[in-house]
């Protein structure tokens, strides 16, 4: 199969989805009104509520939702062959993610820019809101753990990426200081910062850094995980303007450059996909494709995290209600495009089927490593740079995406823990340092649970992360559906993806429950003991999924009854 053709077909289908399906949703389902006074105007305070250019908002939405997850998920899921991953990413983007992100922005704009969490309490039940908060906390914990393991793996696989990845933090701080303290206009720090970021890749290639095995009795993977979480803890306590904001900004720029580079290289190099369309020789460790495919690829097909972005900041800044289609649907399409190119990199960037099968000898392998290895071959032959440079470049790009998410994730977890301290009157949890330590410890426990004592090979937690993400998406789609029913509009376009994704999440959680139990039992103590936190979380996810379904059923029965009462 020709990779360029696959890219063109995939992008065309996503474009068709935007052109026609999002138009249908905008006109018939969400019924966008250009004259509706959005919260950015009605509640304008020039701080949170500011009418903003839709291109800027689209850029925010796109860069906030597209990161390491739509690279890792498809990079793992192609173990079942490229075709199922391709179909799920393309159709998921068209009929799931687009509907979800667009709907989350719409629902929030129509409800005075309230977040999906708050809307869950208003529209469904207060109990559903509690469910929502628990799911969000679990999601944050898992995303931090999984990205910590992914970065640690990447540093070991590509030691040349260590210096450039850490230099990016210095560049970000310098940009923050230049803009806020020295009031330098943004253009020059952007250009110089981006040039330094790419120039330092040469330095990384010249001076690769590997940690010594056995330092403090720990394997290199475990050392990296600890270093990364110590960093994330410190970073989350720093002022936003100093690190998080410029790091986010650099990431956005990187995303556009990276996507352009990858798609340009695919179209020029036109590699052949060596992986099978449907893999008949799936390793024994791989779980069944149904339902695991639908949680292994969450971001890139549908992700509940997008609803938090759409209803958190985007809806407060939407200039016109009609912009929701461009910002929400097209924003999620951008993430679909990233997932699509990740599939191509992980299946077409290998010399032979044997080489590809060696990468995918076990479930959880691949991911970032396959994306980097395959992507580097494609970029190298397409753009003409050395393969070593391309490898470092793509690793740095992915590490920066994951690192920024960790920075923000640990910070958000700290806020949640501090809020719990305040709600339940536990003063010690209100302390920023204690709350950060608690957040970091929880993530570390999970990271080692996923990666074992060595911290290596730990993508075991990935499907659990995807399951939680899909549960959140199910809750958001539930809120949108209930709002549509209340307005007397057809809810099947949001309800069908909601039922599908929640069912898949529940089924996947049950499959993983069995897998984790068996692996923990077979591994013995203490290695098996590290799996118990994951087992416990999985159990909680199963319970949450059942509750989400019960809440959904109860909300619809209630709405149907009230509709029947209104009509009589």
């Amino acid at each position: 199969m020709n990779a360029a053709l696959l890219a063109v077909v995939g992008l065309s289908m996503i474009a068709i989805g935007y052109r026609f399906y999002s138009k249908f949703l905008a006109e018939k389902i969400y019924q966008l009104d250009p004259d509706f006074e959005t919260p950015a105007h009605a509640q304008r305070d020039d701080i949170d509520y500011v009418p903003t250019n839709r291109v800027v908002l689209w850029g925010h939405h796109f860069t906030a939702v597209a990161g390491a997850a739509p690279i890792i998920g498809p990079g793992i899921a192609v173990i079942w062959g490229w075709l199922p991953a391709f179909i799920w990413v393309v159709l998921g983007t068209m009929f799931f993610a687009g509907v979800h992100d667009f709907g989350a922005v719409w629902a929030s704009v129509r409800s005075k820019a309230r977040s999906v969490g708050a809307l869950t309490g208003d529209v469904v039940t207060p109990r559903a809101r509690t469910l929502f908060m628990i799911v969000v906390f679990f999601l944050l914990m898992m995303v931090n753990a999984v990205f910590g393991v992914a970065i640690a793996d990447a540093f070991q696989e590509t030691p040349s990426s260590v210096i450039p990845a850490w230099t990016a933090i210095v560049v970000a701080v310098a940009i923050g200081v230049l803009i806020y303290r020295m009031h330098v206009p943004i253009l020059w720090p952007t250009i110089v910062g981006t040039v330094i970021l790419y120039a330092v890749i040469f330095l990384g290639d010249a001076v690769p850094i590997s940690l010594t095995d056995g330092l403090f009795g720990l394997a290199p993977g475990a050392q990296w995980i600890i270093i990364l979480f110590v960093y994330a803890g410190i970073a989350s306590l720093l002022p936003v303007w100093l690190l998080l904001q410029p790091r986010d900004y650099i990431n956005g720029i990187q995303l556009f450059i990276g996507l352009g580079l990858l798609y340009g290289a695919v179209l020029i190099a036109n590699p052949t996909i060596v992986a099978p369309a449907i893999n008949a020789n799936v390793p024994a460790s791989a779980p069944p494709i149904f339902p695991l495919l639908f949680v292994t690829i969450a971001c890139g097909a549908i992700s509940g995290f997008h609803g938090l972005v759409g209803s958190g900041t985007t809806s407060k800044q939407l200039n016109k209600e009609t912009d929701a289609r461009f910002v929400g649907y097209l924003g999620s399409s951008g993430e679909g495009a990233l997932a699509l190119v990740a599939i191509i990199a992980a299946t077409a960037g290998f010399a032979s089927l044997t080489e590809w099968e060696a990468m995918y000898s076990e479930f959880g392998n691949g991911g970032l490593a396959a994306f980097v290895q395959g992507g580097a071959v494609i970029v190298s032959s397409g753009v003409g740079i050395s393969q070593g440079f391309a490898t470092t470049l793509l690793t740095v790009m992915a590490v920066l995406f994951a690192g920024t998410t960790m920075d923000a994730g640990v910070r958000l977890q700290r806020y949640i823990i501090q809020e719990w301290g305040s709600i339940y009157s536990i003063p010690i949890l209100q302390n920023g340092y204690i709350a950060t330590a608690a957040a970091v410890s929880a993530c570390l426990l999970l990271a080692f649970g996923a990666g074992g004592p060595s911290g290596e090979g730990g993508m075991l937690i990935w499907p659990l992360f995807g399951t939680t993400n899909q549960l959140l998406a199910g809750l958001t789609l539930l809120v949108i559906s209930v709002m549509l029913v209340k307005l007397g509009r057809p809810a099947r376009y949001t309800l069908t993806p909601m039922i599908f994704i929640t069912t898949m999440a529940l089924a996947a959680a049950l499959v993983q429950l069995r897998t984790l139990f068996l692996q923990g039992r077979d591994a013995g103590w203490p290695a098996g003991g590290l799996l118990y936190p994951l087992l416990l979380i999985d159990l909680v996810i199963v319970v949450l999924a059942i509750f989400v379904m019960l809440e959904a059923g109860s909300a619809f029965m209630r709405e149907r009854r009230s509709a029947a009462t209104a009509s009589t």
Binding site: V50, T52, N53, I186, L187, V240, Q245, T313
Partner: protein, 88 residues
């Protein structure tokens, strides 16, 4: 967003907005928290809290009185805590 005329200016304005917009609210709240602490320093002595810097902050009081009402409301005090200054 700044006024933009040429394509380069428009691009710069877009970049600036792309940089600022997601964190505008967070930074404004952080700024307000710092300002609130500063207000406490300035008015501490008047509320009976000894302030070693009172000699220096005294002359700032008239300049900050305009913000005083919003500040005491944000601190959870419905009415002015100062006997000599009844803003509400």
């Amino acid at each position: 967003m700044t006024d933009a005329s040429g394509p380069l200016d428009r691009f710069k304005a877009l970049l600036e907005e792309f940089y600022v917009a997601p964190y505008r609210g967070a930074l404004a709240r952080a700024q307000r928290d710092e300002d609130d602490l500063f207000m406490l320093f300035v008015f501490a002595e008047l509320m009976g809290v000894p302030n070693p810097a009172a000699y220096y902050t005294l002359e700032l009081q008239p300049l900050l009185l305009e913000r005083f009402h919003e500040w005491h409301r944000r601190q959870g005090l419905e009415h002015s805590p100062l006997d000599g200054f009844r803003c509400c």
